[in-house]
Symmetry: C2
Subunit: 229 residues, 2 copies
């Protein structure tokens, strides 16, 4: 039976959440049927009787699982015969390091280049909550945070150096084929692709080529979500 994925949705069904993309790619990786339930920021509390303060949440015929990593582990356990998301226990452990790498080194740089664009991509009813909570977090207006981003694109390029170096040796973080570790970093880059017109990757960067391969996976699952214009 179809699994429901509660995914954060902006205007026009625009889903950009980096964590929800991890879950969406993980479901596709396992070859599972799933149905996206578009959810606004201010509707998260109503999902599955308030099961989680954040998305993604999946409802697998009554089994509710929140948090992208927990969802991936749940899918790995419940679908052991489908392609592995981790390639063994060492891959699970390393995914926690790569998660921390994305959270510490990539996402803070990215969000400061697109937080106002994310705001503008939200449903109108979610915009006041987003502005208030993020401006409190940054101690500045969304406009101030995002201003001068052209000068900060090199910082993202630098932060992606480990991935770029690794790509000389293998085409995916998972090795010859993608694993959940790829979806962690993919989600961090799909986020601005869908929410912001500002280009984050230089076209001739091997990381851009890896990201394009990620967009094409599973019949273009990532690509079918239109890029922000």
């Amino acid at each position: 039976m179809t699994i429901a994925l509660y995914d954060l949705a902006g205007k026009d069904g625009r889903c950009f959440s980096p964590y929800c993309w991890r879950a969406r790619m993980a479901l596709a990786h396992k070859g599972l049927d799933f149905e996206v339930r578009e959810t606004g920021f201010t509707d998260i509390g109503a999902v599955a009787d308030g099961a989680s303060r954040t998305l993604p949440v999946i409802d697998d015929n009554g089994w509710i699982v929140a948090e992208s990593m927990d969802i991936a582990l749940y899918l790995e356990k419940t679908h052991p015969d489908a392609p592995s998301l981790f390639g063994g226990e060492g891959g699970v452990a390393a995914a926690r390091f790569i998660d921390a790498f994305a959270l510490a080194n990539l996402m803070p740089v990215i969000v400061r280049m697109c937080v106002k664009d994310i705001h503008d991509a939200l449903q109108a009813k979610d915009q006041p909550y987003f502005r208030e909570s993020r401006e409190k977090r940054f101690g500045a207006t969304l406009e101030e945070v995002q201003a001068g981003r052209e000068a900060r694109i090199d910082a993202l390029h630098d932060a992606l150096t480990p991935l770029r170096m690794m790509l000389k040796r293998q085409p995916w973080i998972g090795g010859d084929s993608p694993l959940y570790t790829d979806y962690i970093v993919f989600g961090a880059l799909q986020w601005p692709r869908v929410a912001s017109p500002f280009p984050m990757l230089k076209p001739d960067d091997p990381v851009a080529e890896w990201f394009a391969r990620g967009l094409a996976l599973y019949d273009g699952l990532g690509e079918r979500m239109p890029a922000a214009a």
Copy 2:
């Protein structure tokens, strides 16, 4: 039969090479008997009939293997029943990312804080080669590169953020117990511990606690190599 490990040696048998420490820890992880053959920088060309321009090299009763990652993969393949170094194919693939992380984000910061100390820890006969090759690489004298390092310790602290964040979730990069991924980062920190008196880690840093656990592994294999005074 005992495996020979050709390890880079400075004065008084002081072995600090980050790559050789990966191999040493990997051999111990597999529970293998090995014998360290101390080798100066300028003697590497004579090891195993010039098999490699770099160390470590192992000689497993005639099988010569160079490059720390290739040594770990060789040991994993030849000793499948000993504790795994990777925890599956996903762990092997992720190790290449973590290797790139260490090479891009940690080692350049570390070397600039101890390159003159490394020089001084070398055997006298190796010092001219080291000075000439490194000064050419950095475009500055060793003294100039190392100067002002006190102001750069925070950059290393920042570069270790992903590991520090991950340690909130699990005690090793390998999960509940160490894997080769831990030895990659361990080697990067054992390097200055053995070669330089300059303290790289703040004592209350969870990374310092993780490193101390690494030093204690295998009957204190890392700890038995004295810290630079």
